[in-house]
Symmetry: C2
Subunit: 249 residues, 2 copies
């Protein structure tokens, strides 16, 4: 039974998991979000488990779980353990949302503490005796009429929140494509040409409405955050359209 002291990310502890498929889905979800310290307590079907390996989509080639006989053995080197479960009715524990649990755990992680997230067995979950080993509870908000998340789903959400907390991706960004937003002078050049050609085509029938109509046209194109390349395309479109132009009615 090897302890993995070089694992810097939180340990994921599966207590008495039953279905190999679920162990595999949990391992896959861990790898999706960069976690690798998987600990399995008394898996019903033993270990290794073919169904787990098949369902892990390659994740179990990247790391191997450590298998323990009892829950306390799986926790010995950890400093702070949170259990995902429904809110317990007869026990005093702090209860966190997944996001707040990650905030608290990451603060402790930065201080050098080793963190564990504990997940109970399918259907019956964790017993109160198991929870007494934990510092707090994580309750995932779900539809009250259908709150059962399986093991893979629960591990996925905790891994997602863990990675998200260190993710530097801007919340909203522009995919640049091949091109950069157009400068105002190029946009104006296009809009002035467009309005000139519309005028040539007798588009502005009521001279009194012209300022409003012109403004609406300018707004429509300015709002679109056009790129340089797109404005060149629009210039080409005008050229094509006026080549086809028919005599005024």
């Amino acid at each position: 039974m090897q302890r993995k002291n070089n694992m810097i990310h939180p340990a994921i502890i599966l207590d008495h998991p039953q279905m190999g498929e679920n162990i595999g889905a949990a391992a896959r979800a861990m790898h999706n979000f960069g976690l690798s310290d998987l600990r399995i307590v008394a898996p019903r079907d033993g270990w290794p488990n073919q169904a787990a390996i098949q369902n892990a989509a390659g994740a179990l080639d990247k790391f191997s779980p450590t298998v323990f006989e009892t829950l306390p053995e799986a926790l010995t080197d950890l400093h702070y353990v949170l259990a995902t479960t429904a809110r317990p009715r007869d026990m005093v524990k702090p209860v966190f949302t997944p996001e707040a649990a990650v905030t608290e755990s990451r603060t402790r992680h930065t201080e050098g503490q080793k963190i564990g997230f504990l997940f109970g067995r399918e259907r019956t979950g964790l017993e109160n005796a198991d929870l007494s080993h934990c510092h707090g509870i994580i309750t995932i908000p779900t539809n009250p009429d259908f709150s059962s998340l399986n093991l893979g789903q629960s591990v996925l959400l905790m891994g997602y929140e863990w990675l998200k907390a260190e993710d530097q991706t801007p919340a909203r960004d522009m995919s640049p494509g091949d091109s950069f937003p157009v400068t105002q002078d190029k946009l104006d050049e296009f809009l002035n040409r467009l309005i000139q050609e519309l005028d040539n085509g007798a588009f502005f029938r009521a001279e009194g409405l012209r300022p409003t109509t012109e403004r609406n046209i300018r707004n429509m194109f300015t709002r679109s955050d056009l790129t340089d390349q797109e404005v060149r395309t629009l210039q080409g479109m005008i050229s094509a359209l006026i080549r086809q132009k028919k005599p005024l009615e």
Copy 2:
């Protein structure tokens, strides 16, 4: 082909899904987070699909998907559609994190717009032609070495973010158990008695260290956020310990 105008939550659109298992996992994840407007475009194995129903864990008894032949048909009544995919390299689109996508979508949803989240087929994902129907891109942050999320996982994360944005659960809360935090007077009564009994047992050998030691003991118990019931238990523990007391050495 029925359009579900009474659906107030975002539509989940699966484009050309292949495995029934994945459709079922997506439906289950939707129901976990209170979504029900599932739209399937040209499922490879037709519809209904037994594997989907089995994997949905009952979710497909609660709502039925609408099946469409082409992607544009599945989007006709929507106002704002975001596609989950890797950042496209040759197309100009806003790119959101899941959380920012939900913020933007919920603002529009509040204004009465109908929202859709689009998910591509397994492995090959969405093509650029599909993306041209969408207003923006959602990219889920993952481990760069293992970024492939399956359909069920991706739908789960978007459903989770959607529900989380309206969830009122406090980020950190105390599960109350049967009891309420102790008041300071009861805690002091216990601590004073403890220190008295320790004194009787000649615990404080060096009188000069007594103030520091007393303060450390007070801190230890105050920090624990003890409840009324727990302090009563501690009082009983002192009574039991002093009943066993042995003559001083």
